[in-house]
Subunit: 109 residues, 3 copies
Amino acid sequence: MKLIIAIVQDKDANELSNAFIEANIRATKISSNGGFLRSGNTTFIIGIADERKTEVLSIIKGASKSRSQMMNPSFTSPTALEDGFQEPIRVQVGGATVFVLPIEEIHHF
Amino acid sequence: MKLIIAIVQDKDANELSNAFIEANIRATKISSNGGFLRSGNTTFIIGIADERKTEVLSIIKGASKSRSQMMNPSFTSPTALEDGFQEPIRVQVGGATVFVLPIEEIHHF
Amino acid sequence: MKLIIAIVQDKDANELSNAFIEANIRATKISSNGGFLRSGNTTFIIGIADERKTEVLSIIKGASKSRSQMMNPSFTSPTALEDGFQEPIRVQVGGATVFVLPIEEIHHF
Ligand SMILES: Nc1ncnc2c1ncn2[C@@H]1O[C@@H]2COP(=O)(O)O[C@H]3[C@@H](O)[C@H](n4cnc5c(N)ncnc54)O[C@@H]3COP(=O)(O)O[C@H]2[C@H]1O
Ligand SMILES: Nc1ncnc2c1ncn2[C@@H]1O[C@@H]2COP(=O)(O)O[C@H]3[C@@H](O)[C@H](n4cnc5c(N)ncnc54)O[C@@H]3COP(=O)(O)O[C@H]2[C@H]1O
Ligand SMILES: Nc1ncnc2c1ncn2[C@@H]1O[C@@H]2COP(=O)(O)O[C@H]3[C@@H](O)[C@H](n4cnc5c(N)ncnc54)O[C@@H]3COP(=O)(O)O[C@H]2[C@H]1O
């Protein structure tokens, strides 16, 4: 068994949920926030048998898109306000950030 | 040390929290949603010494109940709306889904 | 790669986010609740290369403070209400509780 943790943009969360249902993949969704842009995103937790890991990764890849977002620099840097007004900058936000972790046991009660 | 991740129904979350306090088991609660029914549930994170793992699993088993929930099929299948009105179906939702993961280090600052 | 899960008090979450940005450490934030005091806290998830683990742990240690909180005992013990009015007690809440887990794979789509 593997635990897959996938962080995706909120805009892709619904499509990814539907894709998991179609493929009969069980998943749990958690609302989260990005550390840098501080905007909302979605963290999926998926416990899956080893032999379906590649299938889950390709479903995540297919459902998540990379987008660019405008960001106000004074928002992320604690010293930026002293530096005066800064032009908003464009930041590329990826489709999905995915971690695969080993599971020792899984139980259904 | 093990990290136990337990996904339980919201109705059982309070009883499970109380059972952990009575047994002096430290835990953190996160609001989550089921991927299939999309209704709210609760994800517990518990870091616990190896020798208390079985005790934690039996507390989770004792506090979480299996229930059936009515579900509107058009909700989960992207194509269901084209198929016309479908009778709501009854879905069995388990007591708890539990993952046991290995921890390499634990720190308290 | 390691997955670092750090549970900190809400009061320290902003400072910790800023410290991660300054050090170019990617992180995701999740709202959570303590199992005992049931008050809000923040769970950070950080995927990081092995050689930066110690740096991340010392940033967490530097940003999180230990505080004491008043707690109404009837809140945590299911039987306390029968025992009649109890004086509020002072509970020490740590700076951070941190778990380090092994990651098998990381993907960016
Ligand atoms: N210090 C920095 N300097 C310049 N640019 C920076 C930066 N930190 C992040 N970015 C950029 O901003 C995007 C959004 O990051 P955020 O932290 O809000 O939202 C992140 C975060 O919630 C999560 N994430 C990414 N890598 C992570 C990691 N190693 N551990 C935990 N969460 C991670 O995935 C979301 C999307 O990440 P993604 O890499 O696609 O896209 C990132 C990245 O392109
Ligand atoms: N391997 C896994 N990885 C991550 N999270 C997991 C998981 N297995 C279960 N969960 C979590 O536990 C909740 C309850 O699952 P359970 O299997 O008891 O109860 C499930 C199951 O009996 C049924 N179900 C789920 N997916 C289904 C599907 N594709 N087809 C038919 N029934 C499904 O609906 C109930 C509610 O599912 P929902 O997704 O809303 O909520 C799930 C989900 O949040
Ligand atoms: N092994 C573990 N696994 C998962 N999460 C963990 C954990 N250890 C700590 N945490 C998380 O970190 C928060 C702070 O824990 P700390 O030990 O500093 O500070 C704790 C501790 O000093 C005290 N405490 C917790 N449980 C207790 C108990 N059964 N009896 C007496 N004091 C307790 O109350 C403070 C707040 O606890 P609370 O549960 O509200 O909030 C906890 C919980 O969310």
